[in-house]
Subunit: 196 residues, 2 copies
């Protein structure tokens, strides 16, 4: 907790804790920790992209350090995460749902789906990671299966599709969300499933 | 080139010339335009990462849209650009210099060099693009040549190194900075130079 001069107390990260509660920030942080682990162990180099912010006004009278005085969060044009693993380009979006039977497609933006399809077409690996919070299950699902659901005019991806076509992501204590293990078993095993 | 009333010549974008002069925004914007071209023509999928911003204070009293009221620019932990081309992971930093004989290494942060070295070790393509503004020359230089200069304890990369070990980036009217052509000739030609 930080005490501000106006007497209000707040946590370090007001945005995440207050505004985005129940919107997946803890899940994101767990993935970020996994990425730090992969980097430290030289397994993969994957980073979360910063959230784009539209700066509207600035002030330079703050100890010569430019201070942003008015700005807004913007919609990212791509996905949250990308990087490299075993020479392959990796790109994904991570989402949570409290739903037990399906993942509503309204949780992913159309341009993010198009971006993942672009990546696949250029020879990269594109997928989503979905945390079914109530079930305690996390799945990796390749973009091609998302496109199949969209083609079939459904508004959500049934949990069954994750079980059948996705990969259950191992969860542990040291490595909280070992999604690279899921990448390994889906994309890296002998010539199977590569490039959608 | 456009001739302005003051007799100076400049490139297409007067507004940015005034505000961001000597801050590299024109060069960055030209690369962004090139990336839009590559995306539109389905040649490559490469994006600039948003600049990370540390949000300190927010206000929700702005028509129910959360407004950031205090924030600071942060140092990026990686490079500015990454993406995919011909199935290969691409990662680079773009810089400008008014120097005519060398590019001072102080223009690149150590963690960015380490990041590019990480990328190469994992099978990706990592380089810098340097715009020698006064010379009107733009070069692509692979990270391995930067590491060689660092190993030799020099504080800057001589222009000669760019000429000898780098690739001159074609500049044009439609495609302002065709760095993918330089990537092609350096990394994609028959088995040469791949992965450092």
């Amino acid at each position: 907790m930080i005490k501000y001069p106006n007497g209000k107390t707040t946590t370090k990260k007001p945005k995440e804790d207050i505004i985005y509660k129940n919107r997946g920030m803890n899940f994101e942080e767990e993935i970020n920790y996994s990425n730090e682990y992969y980097l430290k162990e030289d397994i993969a180099v994957i980073y979360k992209k910063p959230t784009p912010i539209k700066v509207v006004a600035m002030d330079s009278n703050d100890f010569n350090r430019y201070c942003i005085t008015k700005a807004y969060y913007q919609q990212p044009s791509t996905t949250d995460y990308n990087g490299i693993y075993k020479g392959r380009y990796i790109d994904f979006e991570a989402k949570e749902t409290t739903n037990k039977t399906s993942f509503p497609l309204s949780n992913i933006h159309e341009h993010q789906i198009l971006h993942l399809a672009n990546i696949t077409r250029h020879g990269g690996i594109g997928f989503i990671i979905v945390n079914f919070k109530v079930l305690g299950e996390i799945y990796l699902l390749d973009i091609k299966h998302i496109l199949q659901v969209i083609d079939s005019k459904r508004a959500s991806i049934p949990h069954d599709v994750f079980v059948k076509d996705g990969i259950l992501v191992p969860q542990g204590y040291v490595l909280l969300i070992d999604y690279i293990k899921a990448v390994d078993s889906y994309y890296m095993s002998k010539g199977e499933n590569n490039n959608g």
